[in-house]
Symmetry: C2
Subunit: 141 residues, 2 copies
DNA sequence: CAATCAAACTGTAATCAATACAAGAATAAA
DNA sequence: TTTATTCTTGTATTGATTACAGTTTGATTG
């Protein structure tokens, strides 16, 4: 996996946050499953390894790691928040047929707008929607 | 207001959808209030004009008009879907302090990615987050 | 003008992701 | 060991959205 634990621990200790067993497992799961899972998917998967795990812990962990900049929440639509550990600049494409979310590279730095002079921009999100090649081949069109 | 009723009615009649009183009022509200309101805000505001209005009708209307391409749902975060009638290409900036959503111009057509060859792109969304000038001036920083 | 039918509207009930909260472990410090 | 603080857990609650069934509206037909 490509996790930078040094950066992570430094970031967390700066906030007096311990890297507990549960939190580490959530991070590991996100690192190993780059499918943008929901909180519930993470919970169900980890519940097998950690039978005592609580869904509240998963939500708390995702929130804390999000504030520390280690995890990013993706809210495209459908009232389902998904999570991504990869913080490198990329956009997200959601297939409206199968629901899969694909990453794609895009240069966020070059995205500027004169309308935002005086605004402090902390985060940029790019979401595309449509049909993925796999679903396109199924319908024939 | 800048509503194109001809295009609207054509689009709706193509789908055998009538432009009822309630639906027209929702459209009018969105045209007159470019603040990206939630479904509930629309409901509360129109309830005064139409005391019998049901919240379900507001949701149904927003869904139907969305499918007809007349209204766009904006889901940045916070489990609150907002709605926008302006379909011209622009991005949305959400102030994390006051919650206001600002429009800003951006060239969506130039946004491409080689990773999406073979994908059928139907919609592009650009969401920025940060602090707006008004809130920046309040904190002094 | 009834009669008929489909679409539109309404209100209540249900869903479900997310949060609040309080009590119980774990961990570190003294 | 005591103490304090953080972390975890489970339950209860929230709140936006949807499902559904009954009612109303409005157009069409005879």
């Amino acid at each position: 996996m490509g996790l930078s634990f040094d950066k992570l621990k430094k970031e967390l200790s700066k906030r007096n946050i311990a890297l507990s067993h549960q939190r580490l497992k959530v991070l590991e799961y996100l690192a190993d499953n780059r499918c943008h899972p929901t909180a519930d998917q993470i919970y169900v998967a980890l519940k097998r390894q950690i039978p005592t795990l609580s869904k509240t812990t998963v939500y708390n962990t995702l929130k804390i790691l999000g504030e520390a900049g280690m995890v990013k929440a993706i809210t495209i639509e459908d009232n389902e928040t998904r999570y991504d550990i990869d913080c490198k600049d990329h956009g997200h494409f959601k297939c409206e047929s199968c629901g899969t979310i694909y990453d794609f590279s895009i240069d966020l730095d070059s995205m500027k707008s004169g309308d935002l002079n005086g605004f402090k921009i902390r985060d940029k999100d790019v979401y595309f929607k449509g049909i993925c090649p796999s679903c396109l081949s199924l319908t024939g069109s």
